[in-house]
């Protein structure tokens, strides 16, 4: 008797949970797919294609490290690390940095060799506002990989937003 009564209120809550899980899951799945296929800002895709020689790279193998919040866009530390054995047969040829909102979206291009030993570069960049930064690595076999980072910039670097600084 008791067990039957206990089971009854259990049933609607279980189906509610199942419904919520599946419902949220259905919402998330297309979102994740879209995110991985079109991960780059629209204005950067032609530049990325130019750097890679046509294809849009997958976001993997490249780790782009930027502070999540930058107080000033005038100098933001940046580090790119690319997973690669860096041997004569397989190494990172070049690394390209792109900014979504800067007046000139190409920030820098670095060319490495098999002698580099480690595909890691640090520098400091300017950012005109909160945005996504994209790093694209082109390997010696022609394949390309990308990494992205989102930065919140509190005071933008000189450019569109603030012309006087």
């Amino acid at each position: 008797m008791n067990s039957v009564q206990n089971r009854k209120p259990d049933f609607p809550s279980r189906s509610r949970r199942a419904f919520l899980t599946s419902f949220v899951g259905t919402l998330l799945v297309p979102f994740l797919r879209v995110r991985s296929a079109f991960a780059f800002p629209d204005n950067l895709t032609p530049l990325i294609r130019e750097a890679t020689g046509g294809e849009l790279p997958k976001t993997s193998h490249v780790k782009l490290t930027l502070p999540p919040i930058a107080e000033s866009g005038n100098s933001v530390p940046l580090k790119v690390q690319v997973e690669s054995p860096m041997t004569a047969a397989d190494y990172v040829k070049s690394i390209h940095l792109f900014s979504e909102k800067n007046p000139r979206p190409v920030i820098a291009q670095f060319h490495l060799t098999s002698r580099s030993g480690k595909a890691e570069i640090s520098t400091r960049i300017r950012l005109a506002g909160s945005q996504q930064v994209v790093a694209v690595a082109v390997m010696s076999d022609g394949s390309s990989w990308a990494g992205t980072a989102d930065v919140v910039v509190i005071a933008a670097a000189c450019g569109v937003e603030s012309k006087d600084t």
Binding site: N74, S75, V76, L97, S99, N102, P103, R104, P105, V106, I107, A108, Q109, F110, H111, L112, T113, R115, S116, G117, K118, A119, E120, I121, S122, T123, R124, I125, R126, L127, A157, C158, G159, V160, K163, D164
Partner: protein
Amino acid sequence: MANTRIQIPLQIKRGDVVEVRLLIRHPMETGFRHDNVGKPIPQNVIKLVTCRYNGEEIFRAELFSGVAANPYLAFFTTANDSGELEVTWTDDTGVTETERTPVTVV
């Protein structure tokens, strides 16, 4: 007046992967700024930085106005032999500077 500073580890063993750090004193003028009478300040950024190790190019960077003033660059290379590391840069006004540092491998 040294505008270019190269820093490498003091003690390097043969075959080590060493970090080379460059700091160049340069305004990296973006071309988007105006002076106090409203005249645009022409762009003057370091376009190209090349690093050679005993004559062989080990690193090249093309920079644009998105690189912060007084550019800092850190990258890696494999130290095989003692010798010299040579860094050359060129900016928009045509200024070229070369800085060298000895590399001692034990």
